[in-house]
Amino acid sequence: MEQQLNELQSQALEKIAAAADLKELNDIRVAYLGKKGPVTEVLKGMGKLSAEERPKMGALVNVVRETIANAIEEKQTVLEAAAIEQQLALETVDVTLPGSPVKIGAQHPLTRITEEIEDLFIGMGYTVAEGPEVEQDYYNFEALNLPKGHPARDMQDTFYITPELLMRTHTSPVQVRTMQKHGGRGPVKIICPGKVYRRDSDDATHSHQFTQIEGLVVGENIRMSDLKGTLDVFAKKMFGADREIRLRPSFFPFTEPSVEVDVSCMCGGKGCSICKGTGWIEVLGAGMVHPNVLEMAGFDSTKYTGFAFGMGQERIAMLKYGIDDIRHFYTNDLRFLKQFSVHE
């Protein structure tokens, strides 16, 4: 009987080892360990044994059963793994095929520049002020120290609607309106983005419509050095930490003193076509708010001072991204726009 069991075991183990798939293995399990299997048959024959032999044989039967069951278990793990492998092999895809496209729209480069500048100044405690694009002559010119007939009005050729109404030539009227709202009390700290219009024929460097962003700070003891420091922060953020600024005296009717502000060129002063060999690029205009402007907006110019600056987003974008024609901003060619869907 013992011999019978051993044979049974070795026979089963042989078959288990040879099993090719899970079905075959299951058949073996049923054949050897099932109710009608040989091991059960052996157990049935136990009745004939002596009381001494019975527990001994019982133990032996259990060992054989366990050995076969373990072998099946082990084999099953191996076969299952193989089956999964096979399944996965069947499911393999060509990972180099294109993915299902997700559309990403682009922000217009001018908006991108505007928001970047807005965020920079919001971080420095400014709020964003906006105002009408069709303005009264008073806000666009007179309140900015540009009375009717002033020669400096020629600097900004204007689209008039009536003698008193015009397309704003800069976003400065928003500064005037904001200052007036403050009722002569500071501090004022705003940034004013928006569309502006000038009588220019559209070409590679001129556009009858363009965008501007201006800043204004009015308070007690606002200094020219504050303007310089603020613009230095701006230049480093917009163009790179290694950039410097340079102030050159200039003239605007609404500021005194007035300056043009250059940013050092990316060529590092070696001279290139962008800076025309000078190492400096003109980027914005600025100055200390003219006392007449402060007074007209209701501020006591003996107590308050302020600085203002203004720039064109088109120019900044052209410099930053190397765009060569201002008309690109208004043509809305997708091949142009889509280049600005990338986050920097």
Partner: protein, 804 residues
């Protein structure tokens, strides 16, 4: 303003400062030098030659064979094509080996069999623009006057070795519209002296006053008029130095008398005019306003119709000059002129500006009067011109000037404290450095304690208030020396307004769905200005547009967005999705600011989704834009407040357009661009939306509060309804929602069928209904009870049958 370096050096010592260095210094001190031109740098080997002999070229009718002395051992033979070349002339010769502008190299050559060793040059060939060359040399070669020597450097003789600085002047710095003015600026920058001319013409016994009297009828327009008489002038070319200085300053030489007035204009910044005294019809000058409709021929031979807002110089009867702008043909100095009246006057800027604008005549004179000339130079310039006419035109200067009117020469005094100066600039300047800056500017100062009082010379009309002094100090002290600081004081947090933030969220949302942001022009044509307007008003018009295309303010963003889509379609970009957030402008009546409303609009055409190798392709349709707008509403918290109703506004497809309502107020449209319009602008099937962004953002929900996540399972029931084809899904949905009550948590359309398997005029609409109770698990019986109510309501209110 073109500034000749050589000419400038007559008034201020420029030694040790190259033209480029000077340009940089001037720029850094406040007047931008746009460029420095050095004509001679692109030329070499050009000398004075003397034409000894000239004969016809044996083989060519139009060529001359010249023998020219160029200061070498032997004269050279040069073939010249100019008609005006002749023996006895001093000419400019480009020798063999010479280089002319444009890197044009002169080589020994044979022309029709005759050897040519160089080239006789015209002024243009030496880099002088035709408009600046004297008329007699506008064509052909240039002749030197007789005071040159063969072999000497022709470029030097012609002042082509000069450097010309181009100054870009801001309107406040009209003081630099003269050589003397620039000299003062440069002297301040370099801390050197200014050498002024001291005109002192030798006068005859005869008095100017015997020849002319002056009356000013419009003293506000012309506070001062000074005249001098110079008799017996000999009209001829002015000396070469003067001609070349004028050409370098951008002025064309004419004759000695006219050149002198222009030279003094450039030197002093004081415009002068020379009348032919004998051609004036009287012995008097009367300055008055022109009569409306009065005719006058200016010296450019153009008849002008004058008006009473313009000032004229008359001989008592007829105009002889348009004051400050241009003289008249009737009294112009010409070859036969013998006696000259020099006018040096101060005209009001506004009156000159009016006339120069009205006649589109901008002259060197008008430009200066408009910005204001220095009152103290009116007399000096007149004297200087008289002196030069004696020296260079052989004239006899009559005694004295005839002066009419009175002009204040008072110098303004402006004060500032050192404290204020340092506070505004953020500097720590000492009083002596401030005083030193004003000394360099040649401004007189007086210091009392910490206050400095500056006497401003009349030449600097731009300085009137303390801030102007601050600027003078800052620019000469140097902005580079001002420190970098940031504003001090209480820090207030900066932020976007809820509206501005909402606008950004809308933009990011649309970009996230695949729309590209467009920015189109606000100005448009008459036709476009009214297209797609949500509200029809008379569009706002520009008073003087530059073109018909940009003459009106738009009332909708769509026309230009459609144009942009067509532009892209025409360039092989079939799928286009563009949006814009911009203002439109609504007329509120004459002289009232238009109402500006911010709109959100979009255009989309072509494929919405395309994944070709997996066979996925979905063209844009009405529901694409509707989904976008619904998603947008959800993004800004308006999802339950937007409804859509069928509409057929102009420009849209009448069957595929909906009006968008916010709480039942119209806020815009979505729909297909009308196919006939699409064809007209050459765009493919396109879908549009335009919404009142301002209204929507102001209505947008700002508060957000958490609702508990359902804890009990929901039960779904699907129903397919058969209804008339005309019944709208929204109507069915409304019935279902109403009948379903609070247990019905969602209703979704999941199928719509209309076709062969349906009865004519009927369609099937299938809904998925979800029931749930936040308090407990619903039983089947409870759901069925509600669901039955829904079905009954559908039957009764919408004649909807369950599909069998």
């Amino acid at each position: 303003m073109f500034v000749s370096y050589k000419w400038l050096a007559q008034y201020v010592d420029l030694s040790g400062v190259t033209p480029q260095e000077l340009a940089e210094k001037i720029t850094r001190a406040g007047i931008e030098v746009e460029g420095v031109e050095t004509p001679a740098s692109e030329m070499k080997n050009i000398v004075v030659g003397y034409v000894k002999e000239r004969e016809q070229h044996p083989n060519a009718d139009k060529l001359n064979k010249c023998l020219v002395d160029i200061g070498e051992d032997e004269p050279v033979q040069i073939i010249c094509g100019a008609k005006n070349v002749d023996a006895g002339q001093y000419v400019a010769v480009a020798k063999t080996g010479a280089v002319l502008p444009g890197n044009f190299k002169i080589k020994r050559a044979k022309l029709r069999g005759e050897e040519s060793n160089g080239m006789i040059c015209s002024l243009q060939e030496l880099g002088i623009e035709s408009r600046l060359a004297p008329k007699e040399y506008a064509e052909g070669i240039f002749n030197f006057p007789n005071d040159v020597t063969p072999g000497e450097d022709a470029l030097e003789a012609l002042n082509r070795d000069d450097a010309i600085l181009e100054l870009s002047l801001t309107p406040n710095r009209s003081d630099a519209l003269s050589m003397i003015g620039v000299a003062y600026e440069v002297a301040a920058i370099l801390d050197r002296d200014v050498k002024l001319p001291e005109p002192n013409p030798a006068e005859a016994d005869e008095k100017s006053a015997d020849s002319i009297s002056i009356r000013i009828d419009a003293p506000a327009d012309n506070p001062l008029y000074i005249a001098r008489v110079v008799k017996n002038v000999k009209i001829g070319p002015s000396p070469l130095w003067m001609q070349t200085y004028l050409m370098n300053a951008g002025v064309r030489p004419h004759n000695n008398v006219v050149d002198i007035t222009n030279y003094v204009l450039m030197e002093y910044g004081q415009p002068l005019h020379a009348f032919d005294l004998d051609r004036l019809g009287s012995k008097e000058i009367v300055v008055r306003r022109a009569a409306d409709g009065e005719k006058f021929v200016t010296l450019d031979d153009t008849e002008r119709t004058l008006s009473s807002d313009q000032l004229v110089i008359t001989d008592g009867k007829k105009p002889v000059a348009l004051a400050g702008v241009m003289g008249g043909a009737n009294s112009e100095v010409h070859e036969g002129t013998v006696n000259v009246l020099i006018e040096s006057a101060y005209f009001d800027g506004q009156i000159v500006r009016t006339a120069s604008k009205a006649h589109v005549l901008r002259s060197e004179a008008s430009a200066r009067f408009e910005k204001g000339v220095d009152p103290s130079r009116v007399q000096a310039a007149c004297d200087r011109a008289a002196e030069l006419m004696a020296d260079l035109a052989g004239g006899t200067v009559l005694s004295g000037s005839v002066i009419a009117g009175d002009l204040s020469m008072e110098q303004k005094q402006v004060s500032i404290t050192l404290e204020k100066l340092n506070t505004v600039l953020g500097t720590d300047l000492q009083m002596d450095s401030v005083e030193d800056i004003f000394r360099r500017l040649q401004f007189e100062t007086e210091t009392v304690g910490s206050e400095i009082t500056v006497t401003v010379p009349t030449r600097r009309g731009d300085i009137a208030i303390p801030e102007d002094l601050t600027e003078e100090v800052a620019r000469l002290y140097g902005y580079d020396h001002i420190p970098l600081t940031l504003p001090e004081g209480a820090v207030q947090p900066g932020s976007l307004s809820p509206y501005q933030l909402g606008r950004r969220i809308v933009r990011r949302y649309l970009e996230g769905t695949g729309f590209n942001q467009a920015i189109t022009y606000s100005l448009t044509s008459s036709k476009r200005a009214s297209e797609f307007a949500l509200e029809q008003r008379e569009p706002v018009a520009l008073s003087m547009p530059m073109s018909e295309e940009r003459a009106f303010l738009r009332q909708s963003l769509l026309p230009h967005l459609i144009e942009a889509a067509a532009y892209n379609n025409a360039r092989q970009m079939a799928s286009v999705a563009l949006y814009e957030t911009s203002s439109i402008y609504l007329n509120e009546g004459e002289n009232v600011q238009p109402k500006e409303e911010e709109r959100l609009a979009g255009v989309v055409t072509g494929m919405w989704h395309e994944h070709l190798w997996q066979g996925e392709k979905k063209a844009v349709d009405f529901f694409t834009v509707k989904g976008i707008v619904e998603g947008l509403a959800a993004r800004i918290g308006l999802q339950d407040r937007l409804t859509f109703q069928k509409a057929a506004p102009a420009g849209f497809h009448p069957g595929r357009t909906a009006e968008v309502l916010l709480d039942s107020e119209p806020v815009g449209f979505i729909g297909q661009l009308h196919p006939s319009l699409a064809k007209e602008v050459d765009v493919k099937e396109a879908y549009l939306f335009e919404l009142k962004l301002d209204v929507m953002l102001h209505a947008a929900r700002e508060d957000l509060s958490y609702a508990a996540i359902p804890r009990y399972p929901s039960i779904g029931r699907d129903i397919a309804l058969v209804v008339d084809s005309t019944v709208e899904a929204a109507a069915l949905e409304a019935v279902i929602k109403h009948a379903g009550g609070s247990l019905l948590t969602s209703v979704r359309v999941f199928d719509v069928y209309e076709g062969q398997r349906m009865e004519e005029g009927k369609k099937s609409v299938a809904f998925a209904l979800t029931y749930a109770d936040p308090e407990k698990t619903l039983t089947d019986e409870e759901v069925t009870a509600v669901h039955e109510k829904v079905l009954i309501a559908l039957k009764e209110q919408a004649d909807a049958e369950l599909r069998g």
